[in-house]
C-alpha cells in the first residue's frame, strides 16, 4: 500500500483545504501595498492599467503548411474570420537551414509549416496582406536571422518600410537546446546570432519584438511550472548579459523583449505562475540589470495552451481542456494567445478545428465577462499564496542555475535537459498508475472514440515537396551569379570578422540566396551542435 498522497498543485506545491488572510505574509494590508495596481511596478496585476478594457489580447493562431501559396490562403482565411494577427509555422527544413531540394529535406517539405527557400517564397506567403497593418509572429530560431532577412526583403518588395513592421521573431535559441531541439550551431555562436538580430532590430525595427523568450517548450517537454519560470528567467538573464556585452543599453532593448509561457490545466497555479512571472521579471530587470524605466521592467507575454495536455482519446474533450487553458491565460493577463486545435494529437489541425480554437477565444473575450476588470483574481487568498510560493521556488531554482554558470552553461552541460526528461518520465508513470487522472485515458476511457474521430485527418498534398523543390531550382537557375556569389562572400566575411550579420544577410536574400546557402555559411564558420546523452 502506498501512503495517501498529499494534495498538491501540478508542480508539487502543497494545497490546504482553505486559505485565509493568515496565509498572506503581513496580512491583507501588506498584500495591497505589495501588489500595487495593474500597470504599476512590480506589475503582478498586469502590464497595463486598464488591461482588457483598454485592449483585448491578440488572437494569434499558429498556421502554416505546404508551399507559400497554401499558407497565404490560410492566412487570408484567418484574417477573414476575424483574427487580427498572423503567426507563421515553418517546416523543419526551413527551421534547420535546408532547402526544399536538399535530400535531408525530402520527407519534411511543407509538413509542419511552410517551406521558405528564398525571399521570393516569403513574398508569396504575404501576397495581398498589408504588412504595415498586420502583426506577424515568426516561430523561428536557429535560422531566425536568415528568415528575418527574407521577410525584410519581402517588405521592401511590397513597398513597406522597415519602421512600419510589427510582430515578433521567436529567436530564442536557448530553449531549442533545452527542449524544442531545432538547434543548429553551438550555444556560443548561436547567442551571437541572437544578439546580432537584437542589435539590428534596435536600430531598424522600432515596432518589432526581436526575441520572445520562452518557457513554453520546456514545459511541453516535461518540466513543471516552477522550472518553467526559472528556466525562462535564467535564459532571459543570459540574453540580457549578451546584449549588454554588445554595448546595447538595457533600458533601450528591454521594452522590446517579449515572453512566451505555456498555460496548462492547473487553472489557479497557472494564473499564479503568470502573475509571478511579471513580478520576478520586474525584480530581475531592476535589481540585476538596473532598469530605470517601467517599460524596461514590464513583462509582456504570449501564451499557448499545452499540446501535451490534449489527448488522442476522445479528442472532443480537448475543446474543454483548451477552453480552461485559454481562460487561465486571460486571467493571468496574456497579451496574445494561441489555442490548440482539438485534433492536434493526430495531425495538423483541420480548418474546422482552427476555427473552433479561434471561437474559443472569442467566446471568452465577448461572452464570459472575465475581461471586464483587470486582474480579477487579485486578493484571492489561494491565488496570492500560490503566486508568492511560485515566486519563491522559482527564484531559488534560478540561483541553482546561476551556480551552474548561468542558463547557457547549464544547457551546454545538459543539466536542465535531464530535469525535463526526468519529470516527463515521472508524469508518464503517474498517468500509467492512475495517480494523475486523465479523462478518457485512464478514467472514463472509451476504446472506440479515438479511431472514430480521426476519420478525416488533415493531409498535406504529397506533391508539395516536389513542386516547391522544382520552383526553387528554377529560381536558383535564374539568379545573377555574380551578385549572388559576392553577397555570400560578404556574408562569410562578416560572419568570420564578428560583424553584425544582418546587413549581409539582407544583401544575400536580395540577391536570391537560399536559406540553405546562408545557413551553410554559418555551418562552415561555427560547426554544428550535438546534444549530450539524456542520462
Amino acid at each position: 500500500m502506498t501512503p495517501p498522497r498529499d494534495v498538491t498543485t501540478d508542480s508539487g506545491i502543497p494545497v490546504a483545504i482553505v486559505y485565509t488572510g493568515d496565509d498572506l505574509p503581513g496580512g491583507e494590508a501588506a498584500l495591497a501595498r505589495r501588489l500595487g495596481r495593474p500597470g504599476e511596478p512590480p506589475f503582478t496585476r498586469g502590464p497595463y492599467p486598464t488591461m482588457y478594457r483598454g485592449q483585448l489580447w491578440t488572437m494569434r493562431q499558429f498556421a502554416g503548411y505546404g508551399a507559400p501559396e497554401h499558407t497565404n490562403e490560410r492566412f487570408r482565411f484567418l484574417l477573414a474570420q476575424g483574427q487580427n494577427a498572423l503567426s507563421v509555422a515553418f517546416d523543419l527544413p526551413t527551421q534547420l537551414g535546408y532547402d526544399s531540394p536538399d535530400p535531408m529535406a525530402a520527407a519534411e517539405v511543407g509538413r509542419v509549416g511552410v517551406a521558405i527557400d528564398t525571399a521570393a517564397d516569403m513574398a508569396d506567403v504575404f501576397a495581398g496582406i498589408p504588412l504595415d497593418q498586420v502583426s506577424v509572429n515568426f516561430t523561428i530560431n536557429a535560422t531566425a536571422p536568415i528568415i528575418l532577412a527574407t521577410y525584410l526583403v519581402a517588405a521592401e518588395r511590397a513597398g513597406v518600410p522597415y519602421r512600419a513592421l510589427t510582430g515578433t521573431l521567436q529567436n530564442d535559441i536557448l530553449k531549442e537546446f533545452l527542449a524544442r531541439k531545432a538547434y543548429l550551431y553551438p550555444p556560443g555562436p548561436s547567442l551571437r546570432l541572437v544578439t546580432d538580430v537584437v542589435e539590428f532590430s534596435s536600430r531598424e525595427l522600432p515596432r518589432f519584438n526581436p526575441i520572445s523568450i520562452t518557457g513554453y517548450h520546456a514545459r511541453e517537454a516535461g518540466c513543471d511550472a516552477v522550472q518553467e519560470l526559472a528556466l525562462t528567467m535564467a535564459s532571459a538573464a543570459a540574453y540580457c548579459e549578451a546584449f549588454l556585452a554588445r554595448g546595447l543599453g538595457f533600458d533601450a532593448f528591454a521594452p522590446r523583449l517579449s515572453f512566451h509561457f505555456a498555460t496548462t490545466l492547473d487553472l489557479f497555479e497557472e494564473v499564479a505562475k503568470l502573475r509571478a512571472a511579471r513580478r520576478i521579471w520586474y525584480r530581475v530587470a531592476t535589481e540585476r540589470f538596473g532598469a530605470s524605466t517601467p517599460a524596461a521592467a514590464r513583462l509582456r507575454f504570449f501564451s499557448g495552451n499545452s499540446g501535451t495536455t490534449l489527448t488522442a482519446q476522445q479528442p472532443l474533450n480537448n475543446v474543454i481542456r483548451s477552453t480552461l487553458q485559454c481562460l487561465g491565460a486571460v486571467l493571468g493577463g496574456a497579451q496574445s494567445i494561441h489555442v490548440m486545435g482539438y485534433d492536434e494529437a493526430y495531425e495538423i489541425p483541420t480548418e474546422e478545428a482552427v476555427t473552433l480554437s479561434l471561437r474559443t477565444q472569442q467566446i471568452i473575450a465577448l461572452e464570459s465577462g472575465v475581461t471586464r476588470t483587470a486582474d480579477p483574481l487579485a486578493g484571492s487568498y489561494y491565488v496570492e499564496s500560490l503566486t508568492d510560493e511560485l515566486e519563491a521556488r522559482a527564484t531559488a531554482l534560478m540561483a541553482d542555475i546561476d551556480a551552474l554558470g548561468g542558463a547557457a552553461a547549464a544547457i551546454e552541460a545538459g543539466v536542465p535537459q535531464r530535469w525535463i526528461a526526468e519529470s516527463a518520465y515521472r508524469a508518464e508513470q503517474q498517468l500509467a498508475t492512475g495517480e494523475r487522472p486523465k479523462v478518457g485515458v485512464n478514467v472514463y476511457a472509451d476504446p472506440g472514440a479515438a479511431a472514430e474521430a480521426a476519420a478525416a485527418p488533415f493531409e498535406v498534398d504529397p506533391m508539395v515537396g516536389e513542386r516547391q523543390a522544382a520552383r526553387t531550382r528554377a529560381r536558383i537557375a535564374a539568379r545573377d551569379l555574380r551578385q549572388h556569389i559576392s553577397a555570400l562572400l560578404r556574408l562569410a566575411d562578416d560572419t568570420r570578422a564578428g560583424r553584425n550579420v544582418m546587413p549581409a544577410l539582407i544583401g544575400a536574400a536580395r540577391a536570391g540566396a537560399t536559406v540553405g546557402e546562408m545557413a551553410d555559411v554559418f555551418r562552415d564558420a561555427f560547426g554544428e551542435f550535438t546534444e549530450p546523452a539524456p542520462w
Binding site: L92, V112, E176, K181, A182, A345, E347, A450, A454
Partner: protein
Amino acid sequence: MSPGGSGPVQRSWASRDGRPEAGPSGLPAGGLPPRPARILLAKPGLDGHDRGLKVIAFGLRDAGAEVIYLGLRQTPASIVAAAVAEDADLIGISVLSGAHLPLARQILAQREEQGAGHIPVVIGGTIPPEHADALRALGVEAVYPVGSALPDVLAGLLALAGTARQGAA
C-alpha cells in the same frame, strides 16, 4: 540460447540480479546468463520532439534493457548501420512531424539493403489509425500512436526484442 523460464522478456532482465556462481573457467557454471534486450532508439529526419522517446528510453532502462540512444536527426541508413553494429534486437523510432510513412519506407529499405531483416522496426508518434495500418502493411512490426500507455509500449518492445533475439539465436 534455449528458451525457458517465464519467457524471453522476463528472463532477460531478471537475470541481471541473481547471476549464477562462477565455474572453474571464471565463467558462470551454467554458461553466461542471457544478456538483457538491446534496444536501439532514434529520431529519424529533422523532427525534434524527443519527450516521448526519452520516456521510453528511461522506461526500458528501468526495466533492465540496454538502450542504445542515438537521439536526433538520424538518417535511415545511419539508424540501421548502428543497429547492426550494436547487435540490437529491436529498432524503435519516433516521428511527430507527420513524416512517418516515407521515413518508415526508407528505414525498411535500408534494413533490406544492410542485411538486417531480422531486426524488427517499431514506430511511435503522431500517427492516425489508417496510417498505422499502412505502416504495418509496409513491414513495421508494431505502431504506438500518441496516447499509447507507457506499460503497454514497454511490454510490447521487450516482448518483440526477446522474440527477435530467439529467432536470431
